[in-house]
């Protein structure tokens, strides 16, 4: 058997939250490509249907269920539907999240609701899904939880209070999962760098990756092999850890001063 055979996910059921678009969609397609059956969830049904069609076009199986991860009863229903369709869950990817209202506001301007929604979306949602799915994953004989954090889970920025607190909370939530359910369940993190999803305004906002050490932004498809790796038997001893896919950003920094070289980079000279 070659080491590459361990990447096969045939017979596994993977739940991906936030699978309607962006990174969640790319990861769902990659997991399906590796052989897993998919449960796709988010709030916007039309986007889920599109992802489901893409999975099926590639020869995979997909069930979509709309759900709001901030609402625990909605999450419990989603997990129960997944079980009644497939009978088991082996992989959970907690990817739903992102910017919420109030992100970027300075502390004294943040409303209670903005703080709550931000934490619910980027931290509590992963708790709801893990709490509902873990008994099923254990029943299936163990499996994998993959939580999507961010560079902001490890570092902060001025006037970024809500998102950075939630994503850092997700990092330690993952470590607690890792300590609690080892060796049956491995819980790890993906920390994407800057992924604009082909959105020109976002790319421009991030200066097209000029300040990222590699000089470019990420492509959604690059998350695919990483999520498959973490869902696969290749990472059986990896637990409570993050893989940061960010073109070198966190090795120095994403800002110009973050990696100020002692000699100019080729581009500057």
């Amino acid at each position: 058997m070659s080491v590459l055979d361990k990447l096969k996910l045939n017979g596994k059921v993977a739940v991906v939250t936030g699978a309607g678009r962006g990174l969640g969609r790319a990861m769902a397609l990659a997991l399906a490509g590796a052989g897993a059956d998919l449960v796709l969830t988010a709030r916007t049904e039309a986007q889920l249907m599109e992802t489901a069609d893409l999975v099926r076009d590639g020869g995979g199986a997909a069930l979509w269920i709309s759900c709001d991860v901030t609402d625990s009863s909605s999450v419990n229903t989603m997990i129960e539907s997944a079980i009644s369709e497939y009978g088991h869950i082996d992989i959970l990817v907690n990817n739903a999240g992102g910017a919420t209202a109030g992100m970027g506001k300075t502390l004294t301007d943040i409303a209670d609701d903005e703080w709550r929604v931000g934490l619910d979306t980027n931290l509590t949602g992963a708790m709801h899904c893990s709490r509902a799915a873990i008994p099923h994953i254990l029943e299936a004989g163990g499996g994998k939880i993959i939580n999507v954090t961010s560079g902001f889970g490890f570092r902060a920025a001025r006037d970024n209070f809500i998102y950075t607190s939630a994503k850092a909370g997700l990092v330690n939530f993952t470590r607690a999962l890792a300590m609690t359910y080892a060796p049956d369940i491995q819980a790890n993190l993906i920390a994407p760098g800057l992924f604009p999803h082909g959105n020109a305004a976002m790319s421009e906002f991030w200066r097209n990756g000029k300040y990222t050490p590699m000089g470019r932004l990420g492509e959604d498809e690059e998350l695919g092999p990483l999520v498959v790796l973490l869902a696969s038997g290749l990472t059986s001893y990896m637990n409570g850890q993050a893989i940061v896919l960010d073109g070198g950003g966190l090795a120095g920094g994403h800002a110009p001063t973050g990696f100020a070289p002692l000699v100019p980079l080729p581009e500057d000279s």
């Binding site: 590459l4 890792a178 300590m179 080892a182 050490p213 000089g215 990896m238 637990n239 090795a251 980079l265």
Partner: protein
């Protein structure tokens, strides 16, 4: 997905093939399709034997490769090894620094010569190999170069009687980050694998200290070398083209504990 991870056509050099992790990585890279040269660095009389038996496994997989024993902290030896790799395999895209000089001693009893030896081999060795292979990869001018330094949890956590060893390991982590930034736009990626306590690892000590370790590990067991090697295949492959300057920890959750 299997095809995307494939290392077909890549040429690799693994330094440290006489230790369990280095050997497992060398074999995994070959299984994934790379040609793999292996070098051993242990000053044991069976060093050649260890390298040869690893090379035999690589040949059995129908991959090209050769075995050589070197002094890891010797510039001329390391440079010659990289040159031989390029000459015999036709180039070099992958370098793995997996050699390791175990050392544990109370600091008051540690001679400065011992300190220097540990730093020279465990930190200087990877620097020399990165420098020589990096020069080659950067001048080849095509993306796809990937360097993997194998470090240990002792680069992140301190250990009594480990002053020299822990310092060298920590150095490897930041060597990795610094080179990654320097070469990010040159098509050469530099990452580290932070290995946890692994079967066959000399620092894990005798049976008694191993048993003690196992009690505290979240998995209640050490890692198997092949469980470390899986990450090396990912980091070596072009599927991780956007990943550089990172330490990927494979330690079963040991570092998550307070």
């Amino acid at each position: 997905m299997r095809d995307k991870f494939s290392l077909d056509g890549k040429r690799a050099l693994v330094i440290g093939a006489s230790n369990a992790i280095g050997r497992a990585i060398a074999v995994a890279l070959a299984e994934a399709g790379a040609d793999v040269a292996v070098a051993t660095t242990t000053p044991l009389k069976d060093e050649e034997t260890a390298a040869n038996s690893c090379a035999n496994e690589i040949w059995a997989l129908d991959r090209k490769g050769f075995a050589q024993a070197i002094e890891a902290a010797d510039e001329a030896d390391v440079n010659a090894l990289i040159e031989r790799t390029v000459a015999e395999l036709g180039g070099i895209e992958l370098l793995v620094n997996a050699h390791d000089l175990p050392f544990a001693k109370p600091a008051p009893e540690t001679d400065f010569a011992e300190w220097r030896r540990v730093i020279d081999v465990n930190l200087g060795g990877p620097f020399l190999a990165c420098r020589a292979a990096g020069q080659r990869m950067l001048s080849d001018g095509h993306p796809g170069g990937s360097i993997i330094n194998v470090a240990s949890v002792l680069g992140e956590r301190g250990l009594a009687n480990g002053a020299a060893y822990c310092s060298a390991q920590a150095g490897v982590l930041n060597l990795t980050r610094a080179l990654a930034l320097e070469w990010a736009r040159g098509g050469v990626r530099v990452n580290a694998i932070g290995a946890g306590w692994t079967e066959g690892m000399a620092m894990a000590g005798d049976d008694e200290s191993r048993a003690k370790l196992e009690r505290y590990l979240p998995y209640k067991r050490l890692a198997r070398p092949d469980e470390i090697a899986g990450i090396a295949v990912y980091l070596a492959s072009d599927v991780s083209a956007y990943l550089t300057g990172q330490v990927v920890w494979v330690e079963g959750g040991a570092l998550s504990h307070v």
